[in-house]
């Protein structure tokens, strides 16, 4: 069912989107401020993907770059709509709606900025079902919609249109090169598709799920009940039904560098018991990729590895990891359409240079 989003929903949406960002996706807090400024007292229509007319023309919009740069380089706010308009002009067709390409982090907010500016509705779906670091890691591409032509905009009004045909990895490679030269952040419009394409290729209702997660965590805190249980209960009826607590501990080491347009690194979560050397290692490329306990994989992409504050369940991004933080690490199952062989080829462990096979987080045994 379609619904209406107002500025009052933004803090909850930001919290849920940060959780689904699995450490990456950029900080959506800045995004909420940009949406608020344009939206004011207005409202945004959110379209249910199942109800889209087959010939609706949808142009997704997003921000591209390393989250570590995104939080230092605040967009003017007009860039994403410029990217959309540039792609419309290139294709020769106006968009009927926009949509997120990923539901984690700041990219849950960018289509809302475009919607607030243009009056377009936003489709409640996305192409990553979480956050991923590269533009080619999309269920859209896995199920036959390609990213080209892509339009990209910079903060000084620069526009770039990239067309690599069916080669979404080459599109990512060239767009990343431009983004680096624009200072590390750009805004993009890509994966233009019809309503029929959305139904076939998108992960459905992830925007409403992010909002529901953020709201459930807040209400549990207010009611002094368990926010972790609230996450479990919120996800149970969704495509993300399995939640596992992988570890509880404190951040004892973080190594992070911004390189080749990405934030890459690793973190160690140590046991809270000083005498216990049990610990969890997390490796990330913008997003958390794999969690290992005692050298053994306990969760791996594309399943979600989410670090949250131990008490409040506030999600912690990779750039927010600080020595001594007490955290819980949650593993969350991704939808089946993200675990097919074709999907795993696009964004499974090997796509990130990891040698371990994908094993669903719910299939593992824990001590």
């Amino acid at each position: 069912m379609s619904w209406t989003l107002t500025a009052a929903d933004l803090p909850d949406l930001a919290r849920g989107a940060t959780l689904l960002g699995t450490g990456g996706g950029g900080d959506p807090y800045i995004g909420t401020k940009l949406v608020e400024r344009v939206l004011g007292d207005g409202a945004i229509t959110i379209l249910d993907p199942d109800e889209l007319p087959d010939d609706l023309f949808v142009i997704p919009t997003a921000q591209m770059g390393a989250p570590t740069v995104m939080i230092e380089k605040i967009p003017a706010g007009t860039e994403p709509t410029l990217a959309l308009r540039t792609l419309e002009k290139h294709i020769g067709r106006r968009a009927d709606a926009t949509m997120p390409i990923e539901c984690g982090g700041i990219n849950s907010m960018i289509p809302l900025i475009v919607a607030a500016e243009t009056g377009l509705p936003v489709v409640d779906a996305d192409g990553m079902g979480r956050a991923f670091p590269e533009l080619s890691m999309e269920t859209f591409a896995v199920y036959g919609v390609h990213g080209s032509p892509l339009a990209l905009s910079g903060e000084r009004g620069e526009t770039v249109v990239i067309d690599t045909g069916d080669d979404d990895r080459q599109m990512e490679w060239l767009a990343r090169g431009v983004t680096i030269r624009l200072g590390g952040v750009s805004h993009i419009a890509e994966y233009a598709m019809t309503g029929a394409d959305v139904k076939r290729t998108a992960v459905p209702r992830t925007l409403s799920m992010a909002l529901a997660l953020g709201r459930a965590i807040r209400r549990a805190r207010d009611a002094h009940t368990s926010p972790v249980q609230a996450i479990v209960d919120t996800l149970a009826p969704t495509l993300y039904s399995e939640v596992r607590e992988l570890f509880v501990g404190k951040v004892s080491d973080v190594e992070r560098r911004t390189t080749e347009g990405f934030a890459k690194g690793s973190a160690v979560i140590a046991s809270l018991d000083p005498g216990d050397d049990d610990h969890l290692d997390i490796a990330f490329q913008n997003e958390n990729l794999v969690a290992r306990r005692g050298g053994e994989v306990v969760a791996i992409v594309p399943d979600l590895i989410c670090v949250v504050d131990m008490e409040t369940c506030e999600p912690v991004t990779t750039e927010g990891l600080r020595y001594g933080q007490r955290v819980r690490v949650l593993g969350i199952s991704t939808p089946e359409m993200m675990r097919t062989p074709a999907a795993l080829a696009a964004f499974g462990p090997r796509a990130f240079g990891l040698d371990e096979p994908f094993i669903p987080v719910e299939a593992r045994q824990y001590a």
Copy 2:
């Protein structure tokens, strides 16, 4: 006067274009082979710039990249026309003619490939009056025509359209980033302009001048007369009327690296007399930028610094410099429109990070 070019002209044109490349611009020999293949027994119409209708629509075409990569990565031949067609589609107007953006090196040939493929005529003019390493170093830009929108194509059919408004340096920066990610070479169409713009902003008749230079050198060799004198006599009635022999010697040192999309380095030309430590130092970024003798500048950009074989006057590119080669180094004056304060700001010594002021090659005294 307009004239007709055939395949028989290509070897002379290549020789003259290599001379005007001042060490850079890429090896036009590969370009002649590509033109020959498409042109066959056909002919290309070369338009005199003074005779262009004011509303003629001209889209210049070129290759972009480091010459050191260009000679290893042979284009398929279809890329420059793809760049032209992409820009035509973006602008919404078909080109009436193409034109070189630089008259030195391979970029004297690229518009000929486009002409042979499309049947378009080529304007006998360019925007550098020689070769320069960056897309913003154009008399077009100095006199008010900007490079954007620029269309760029890759060997796998990728296309990129870049629009940075009036900011030609930002256009160069982004296009260079894409070119590096395409492996170091791309093909471009940019600086779309009218016939009136050509008359106001282009260096006229440089294509015919390159052909005349190449032909004069060949004929002098055949007649056993001095090829250096042939160069002097050919240039005397042109906008490049002053020629100075800066040094005669042998290459004793070459340092060259391909970095940031450019071939950068330096060469030392030592005296032929073993007891004499007199020598000439040349610094280059794709093209030769400055020649110093005993630490004293004897020629500097935008004047031409040309290294040629001591006997045959065959031009030697920076990537062709070899230890022990016996060479002459010539300094050639550039047209007045390339020496104005606005022109020197775009491609004078400071644009290359050189501290010395521009002094015309003909104004210097030699020992």
